[in-house]
Structures are given as C-alpha cells and as structure tokens.
Symmetry: C2
Subunit: 226 residues, 2 copies
C-alpha cells in the first residue's frame, strides 16, 4: 500500500520489471518536516520523485520573499526541468512533513532516457502538463482577487492532497497561513482574515497548520462567481 508512487506518470508504458529496475537504479532519501532538498542556485545534480510525503517547490526573490510554484505529491517529480537542462536549480525545494524520495542523478536519468523511450516521452508530458498548470495560475494571479485565489488554492490542494474525514476533507499536510499566502501571492494576514470568514460561514474548519474543507461546493461557487 505504500507503492502508490509506482503508478507515477513517469512509468507509463513500462512493464513492472522495468519499473523495478529503474527504481533500483535510483537512490532513496528520507527527510523530516522542513528539510531542504536543494537551494535555489545550486547546480542541478538529480531528478527526484516523491515516494511518500510531499515537497514544496518555491522561488525566492532577492528579498527572500517566496512564491510557491508547486507542491509535489506522491509519484510526482521535482527538479525535472533543471535536471534535463543541466543548469542550476532556479527554485528551492523542501520537504513538507515526513517525506521519502527517490533520486536519479543526471547521468543515470540520461541513461534511462536512452534505454527507455517511454521515459523520455513521459518526462516531456509531465513537464508540459506542469507548464499548463503554471499558465493557468499565472492567469488567475493576474486577473483575480485575493479571496478568489485563496479559494482556488484550497480546492486545488484538496483535490491533490485531500483526505476524507467524517467532518469534511482534510488537507493532509502542515499548511500554514503563510504557505497559503506564498501560494496565492498575498499576505498571511489576509489569508487569516479570509479563513476566519469562511469558518464563520461553515465552509471550512481550521487549526494550526491544518485545514478541513466542509463545503467544497460553496468554495467552488465562490471561486467562480466572486
């Protein structure tokens, strides 16, 4: 049951045997909460896949302000782009909660791409999909109000990391107001205020770094019409 990552899009079109071999050719790393996987500017050494847990990929400006580009879930990849390009990481990655990953260094991934055409294709598709996501988020950041963006963020995270609980759907990792702010391009104060209102509305429940969505439909309607 902890082999969900073997269904990764990276392995489409490969036999279980091939997958095993590929997995064996990587190296495993384990992290606790908030361990830094690599810094922005480090030379790209490897490509990573999350086995369990989660990575936060963000970009920092000169003042150290953060914009979260992407949360990397089970079976998803981190650093694919810079690893393929062979440049420095343009982003920063850290674990969110206890996290286990496989890494393949550049030489290995290059070899694997040559041996398995499917790997190349899958990598390409994964990158292209991410590009589409980022474009969509760029549009939203450009044209929507803060509250609308926060609603969309919660719905996205619910979609990808939601855990059904009796009282609603829990976003199943430590997620602070500051994280949501960095994810939506606002401040933790505005996030806090907004979540307070939604809690009063009965749309969500929230604690310290924990958010449960009670009424996804209300959020959806809000995100579309607000």
């Amino acid at each position: 049951m902890d082999d969900l990552y073997k269904d990764s899009k990276l392995f489409f079109g490969l036999t279980p045997d091939q997958c095993e071999k590929i997995i064996d050719s990587g190296f495993i790393q384990k992290f606790d909460h908030k361990s830094i996987l690599f810094h922005q500017g480090d030379p790209a050494r490897a490509l990573y896949m999350v086995i369990n847990g989660r990575l936060k990929v963000s970009k920092l400006n000169e003042e150290g302000e953060e914009a979260i580009i992407h949360y990397v879930n089970e079976g998803e990849l981190a650093a694919a782009i810079s690893c393929l390009q062979g440049k420095n990481y343009p982003v920063f990655a850290e674990s969110v909660g206890k996290t286990e990953i496989i890494g393949w260094d550049r030489d290995t991934i290059t070899r694997l791409m040559n041996e398995h055409a499917a790997i190349s294709m899958n990598l390409l598709n994964i990158v292209l999909e991410r590009f589409g996501d980022l474009q969509q988020r760029f549009l939203e950041l450009s044209n929507e109000r803060v509250e609308q963006r926060i609603a969309r963020a919660l719905l996205r995270l619910m979609q990808s990391c939601g855990l059904k609980k009796p009282e609603g759907i829990l976003i199943d990792f430590p997620l602070s107001r500051q994280d949501i702010a960095a994810f939506t391009g606002t401040t933790l104060f505005t996030v806090s205020r907004t979540l307070s209102i939604w809690t009063k509305n009965g749309w969500i429940k929230s604690g310290r770094e924990r958010i449960t969505i009670i009424d996804p439909h209300a959020l959806m309607v809000f995100a579309e019409n607000a």
Copy 2:
C-alpha cells in the same frame, strides 16, 4: 537579411541543407496586425515559427480578461506545447503588426522529430527555457508592485524587440497601454499614470502604441530597488 529566423534555436545542430528541407516542409502564412492565429480551446493543429513580425500569446478567463503569457519574436515558436501534447490550445494567439510565420502540422512535426533527433532536443530546450521565464514572471507577479512589474516589462520588451534610435531604444511594435496592463497584471489606467511619471522623469518617451526607452539604466535601478 530576412533570414534571421534560420538562426532559430529550433535549428541548432542542423546543417543548412537540413534546415532548408525542414522549412520547405512547412506552410507559410501571412497576417496583418491583430489577425487571430488560433483561439483558446481550438484543437492544436500545428506548431508555428515566426519569420518576421510578432505574435502575442495570451490566456483569457471566463470574463474575457486577458493575461499575456508571451510575445513570440522572430525565430521563436508558438503553440509548441499544445502541439506536442496533441490537446487543445490553452491559449490564444494573434499577430502584432504585419507578421509572417511558418507552420508545421502535427504529422509533419512528428515526422521531423523522428528524422532529426536534434529537433526533439531543441524543442525540449525551447519549452524548458520558456518554463523558466514563466516561473520568474510568476514570482514577480506574486511579490512585486505594479510599477516594478511595468519597469521589468519594458526592459524585457526592449531586450527582445528593441530598435536603436537616435533618441533611445524603441520597442518596435504596436504596444498599447492595455497590452502592457495585460502583460503585467494591472489596468491601462495605472500603466498610463506610471508612464506619465517616467516621461516627466525623462526615462521614456511615448506616443500612441509606441514606447521609446531613453534611460534603461534608470528603469533597471527602479526595477531592482523600488
């Protein structure tokens, strides 16, 4: 001298002969100002390269508000991603000024990728580079103020489309206040006000859909420190 597009990154590692053949296998299209190349949601039929002129690639939301994702200059590609994915265009593309392009339909580009490994690699690199650009712009949109973003926009456009003139560097295509607004995530009014100030400062000169940058350095300093 109108063969600048033959230096496109798409052709890296190919002989002039091979390039000729590839170019011959495409179809040429010519557009006037503001002709629509494809709509958001259309099925992706082809991949395009700009021969001369320019394309504006943007994304629209349900209300029809626009966010400009990218200006495509001579030798650069449009629709690469959706063409590779074989999905619908997630964006909208129109010509900016008189524009000439080459198109390769999906079958052709697939064949070319199989015949020339370099094409595949180049395409990948082009897409990856664009991804990096978008990430950077996402960060800026997320963490910077409007005026700072406008400054960066002018500098970027100057970089890629600047034409040296006695009085300064002209951004060499019809660029309205509304365009700059859609490029930076603000309104045409705010852009207009900002440009007015900068004109008084002597940093730029501007007319109807025309902007000349007099003092790039001042803008640069402003973009970094403001």
